[in-house]
């Protein structure tokens, strides 16, 4: 079984990447919303928000990148849901292939699709004046954190993808995830928020991830934030992976 895992997963990855490339609108939609938010925040609300000496594009880009990922994984759930609905998933499961390859192909596709969206959004941010003097190590750290965050959210997305009864159900889970950065340090410094909101904002995963990426881009010391951020991502990843695999095993009994 495992002898074919790599070749089967590669074959299936090729299939779902072809899906993505034949419906480029999914990537465009994923990138358009964060770009529109970025335009609005920078050119409309940004002037009213005091972020100190930092330019507002630099300040909010990390949060925008997380929103990009949160809306991107909705399509991961959607693609998996489509396979479950049609007979193709059962065809794969009844074939002599490495069965878990079916799921891994979707996960890897999610990583590739999100990478393209993230690069697009970062490109637009550069046009809008985003600048960083970050060196290679800082860039690799940023990419590493975003990779972990994407992987963690992708495994969350697998769960509704496998269990949803309707298309809407398959993607609705992503709305709270898209909203989470608003209740963090992503757009507004947390010390302007009232007590309970501030407490939530300072203790939820997005804030430590946003702060880490922001400091890495600004060539500032990241302190403990990078470890807290990594711990959050790995923790979510492990739990989501466990639940998703459990759900998967029950589905294919």
């Amino acid at each position: 079984m495992t002898t074919h895992f790599l070749s089967d997963t590669t074959t299936l990855l090729g299939r779902s990447l072809r899906h993505v490339s034949r419906s480029p609108d999914t990537i465009v939609t994923t990138a358009v919303m964060p770009i529109a938010m970025m335009l609005m925040f920078v050119y409309v609300f940004g002037g009213a928000i005091d972020t100190g000496s930092e330019s507002y594009v630099n300040y909010m880009l990390p949060g925008i990148l997380l929103i990009t990922i949160a809306s991107g994984i909705a399509y991961t759930a959607f693609r998996l849901f489509q396979d479950m609905q049609g007979g193709i998933f059962e065809r794969f499961q009844s074939m002599p292939i490495a069965r878990s390859g079916v799921l891994w192909a979707h996960v890897l596709t999610s990583l590739v699709a999100n990478l393209v969206s993230l690069a697009t959004v970062t490109g637009v941010a550069l046009l809008m004046g985003f600048r960083t003097g970050a060196g290679l190590t800082a860039w690799l750290s940023v990419i590493g954190i975003l990779f972990l965050f994407t992987l963690a959210l992708t495994w969350i997305a697998v769960i509704p993808g496998l269990t949803a009864k309707t298309v809407d159900g398959a993607s609705a889970f992503s709305y709270p995830l898209i909203f989470l950065p608003f209740l963090s340090s992503a757009f507004v410094p947390t010390d302007t928020m009232p007590g309970p909101v501030r407490w939530f904002a300072e203790h939820q995963p997005v804030t430590s991830i946003v702060n880490t990426i922001r400091d890495l881009f600004a060539e500032q010391p990241v302190g403990d934030d990078i470890w807290i951020a990594t711990a959050w991502c790995v923790g979510i990843l492990v739990v989501a992976y466990g639940f998703a695999m459990n759900t998967y095993r029950r589905q294919i009994s």
Partner: protein, 262 residues
């Protein structure tokens, strides 16, 4: 590549039981399917036909009983079973976004065949889909989709093929196309387990017929054996009226040989 074993029946099912919560779908199903030919599992909607096929194709676990496919136990040796079968489910299991040819290449790759492109082209020709091979499956008619679906199931030459209600939802011409395809399958020794709710379909295609009713097989035999269960035929003279199907096919002027309908 494919696990061949020649001893024993193609499929052996003993005392198969399956419930969904309180609903007892299968209440002890027994039947054997000999090698070669078409075996039809006939039953009305909800009789449990699909449940039987899902258990035999390792997609579902039975609550009780045993099932062997190609000599391998479905619960103990699922990988060997999957190596022996192909499933064409109730809804055409094709990838709509890929072209017909890409669908075939995909399955050939997953079956680790040496020249996936050649396998695909060969099957496209055999199923009169060569011209449509480069088009997205989303543009195919129901009959074309089914033909592609069955073509995908033949890749890797599995000795046993499950066809779960292959003509449900198809128009008359497409049905005839599928029937012709199924008849051709058995010419090279493949065993076909077909489920259907259409009596004429079982009559047209099957060498043996088992009737599944309320979770049990109530009769099992050749068409002639089943006919002998009723009192001998009496001769009556009845004016031959054309059936609606005769009228439809005569008016449309089509016996299902066209290849490009949409």
């Amino acid at each position: 590549m494919t696990a061949r074993s020649t001893a024993g029946p193609a499929i052996r099912v003993r005392g198969l039981e399956k419930s969904y919560k309180d609903l007892r779908v299968l209440r002890g199903v027994d039947f054997d399917v000999d090698r070669g030919g078409v075996f039809a599992l006939l039953g009305s909607n909800g009789a449990g036909k699909t449940t039987v096929v899902r258990i035999l194709s390792t997609l579902l676990k039975a609550d009780a009983g045993t099932a062997g496919v190609n000599g391998f136990d479905v619960a103990a040796q699922p990988a060997k079973v999957r190596d022996s079968i192909s499933l064409t489910g109730q809804f055409a299991a094709v990838d709509e976004i890929l072209t017909g040819r890409e669908n075939l290449v995909l399955v050939a790759r997953l079956r680790h065949l040496r020249d996936p492109g050649a396998v695909a082209d060969d099957l496209l020709a055999r199923f009169s889909l060569t011209d449509a091979g480069g088009r997205k499956v989303a543009t195919y008619s129901g009959g074309m989709r089914r033909r592609l679906d069955i073509a995908m199931s033949l890749i890797g030459d599995p000795p046993i093929i499950f066809l779960d209600e292959p003509t449900t939802g198809l128009d008359p011409q497409a049905r005839i196309e599928v029937w012709r395809t199924v008849k051709e399958l058995t010419e090279n020794g493949t065993t076909v387990l077909l489920t259907t709710q259409y009596l004429d379909e079982a009559e047209q295609l099957a060498d043996r017929i088992a009737i599944l009713h309320r979770g049990r097989i109530i009769v099992d035999g050749t068409l002639d054996e089943l006919k002998r269960l009723l009192p001998p035929a009496t001769v009556e003279y009845v004016e031959k009226q054309p059936s609606l199907e005769d009228v439809f096919l005569a008016l449309v002027g089509d016996d299902g040989t066209d290849k490009e309908r949409s």
